[in-house]
Amino acid sequence: MNDPTTLILTSLSSGERHGYALQQDIERFAGVRLGPGTLYGAIARLEERGLIEAVGDAGRRRPYRLTAAGADALETSLAQMRTIVEEGTAGLAHRPSPVLNVAGART
């Protein structure tokens, strides 16, 4: 779930952001600080696949936004994560209670 591409798509789902704003936003909601090389490697891949696009003229703080294909890809990715979360939550809910041994320790 810490895949840089998913984190970038998630951040851009709420609006346009440039590299530094993306990095700050991802750190805020995911607690992950992406290095500049990792971040721009992922941005390049996403732009190449048509999932995000640059906005405006070239410059040091060029913003990016989600494309329609990017929104679909994020939707699919989130649906998969939701399935994993539901599966894990259900598994934990039905987990048998830990048995205590005579010394009182969990087994």
Binding site: P36, G37, G41
Partner: protein, 297 residues
């Protein structure tokens, strides 16, 4: 050095095409992240690793020459290992009684024949690019490759002078002095090895850099793909022959690998041979990967 300058320097890890598209933005992000402080090693490592990945991607994806380039570098590494084996195997025949080492002899002859055959295939791969090279130079391509060719030529000239000087020096020394008993000559020999390695790598860089700029026909690319497979296979056989020769000599007389005077109870694990064997295996693996890529692109 200013943060801006440091950021600009870090961008050199990336290929030019990538820098042209994202360089300014990435430099801006690096400056923003530094917050006016010195760039951390973690940040530098992250950018360097990402840049190296981009270079590999740019060179590999959709480029039918990337497999041939990998095999050529593999061959250069293999030749370096071969130089080590050649030096280590100078005296093994004379150190053993005649007829005592048939397996070693067969393996060693096989190694020499295979090395010659591989060199011929590498030269054939270069030869088929000559028409494209001529067309490239004719259309003003010299300026694009000049620095590599000049650097390799200068190194070659220095190597020729150094070889002549070292040979004249060695002529006046005893075999023992030439094989590690004269510290000054030993240091000079190691310098010569470094110079020869640098020259070989400089020509490899010149060759691959030039090949990248040539317009090669599908026929030449197909031929290169077939040559890469053959070269990779021959490198695997040479590695096997080297190991077979090493084991055979080590079984009969391990001291024969250390040079004159032969040491009766010497270990067969000669460090130079261990390094050579590892280099051969790495080069063979790289060549196999290159051959595979040459066929799949």
């Amino acid at each position: 050095m200013s943060i801006d300058r440091s950021a600009e320097r870090l961008l050199h890890w990336y290929p030019a095409s990538w820098r042209a598209r994202y360089g300014e933005e990435l430099a801006g992000l690096i400056v923003d992240m530094s917050d006016g402080r010195r760039l951390s090693w973690r940040l530098r490592a992250d950018v360097a690793a990402a840049g190296a990945r981009e270079r590999l991607r740019v060179k590999g994806v959709g480029d039918p020459r990337s497999g041939g380039r990998m095999v050529l570098w593999a061959w250069a590494i293999f030749v370096l290992a071969g130089m080590v084996v050649a030096k280590t195997s100078e005296h093994w025949r004379s150190a053993l009684p005649p007829g005592a080492h048939p397996v070693a002899s067969i393996a060693f002859v096989a190694l020499i024949v295979l090395a010659a055959a591989t060199a011929v295939l590498v030269l054939a791969g270069i030869a088929v690019t000559v028409p494209s090279l001529v067309a490239f130079l004719w259309s003003g391509g010299w300026s694009q490759i000049r620095r590599w060719i000049l650097a390799a030529s200068v190194l070659t000239a220095v190597l020729v002078v150094a070889t002549a000087g070292l040979a004249a020096w060695a002529h006046g020394l005893t075999p023992a002095a030439r094989n590690g008993h004269d510290a000054l000559y030993g240091a000079a020999f190691l310098t010569w090895v470094a110079l020869a390695s640098a020259t070989l790598l400089a020509w490899t860089k010149a060759g691959t850099g030039t090949a990248d700029r040539l317009s090669l026909s599908p026929t030449v690319l197909l031929l290169h793909a077939r040559l890469t497979t053959a070269i990779a296979a021959l490198m695997a056989l040479m590695t096997a022959a080297t190991v077979a020769w090493w084991v055979a000599v080590a079984t009969v007389a391990p001291g024969a690998l250390t040079g004159p005077p032969a040491t009766p109870h010497a270990s067969a694990l000669v460090p130079a041979l261990v390094v050579a064997a590892v280099l051969m295996m790495l080069a063979t693996t790289l060549a196999a990967a290159g051959a595979r890529r040459a066929h799949t692109v």
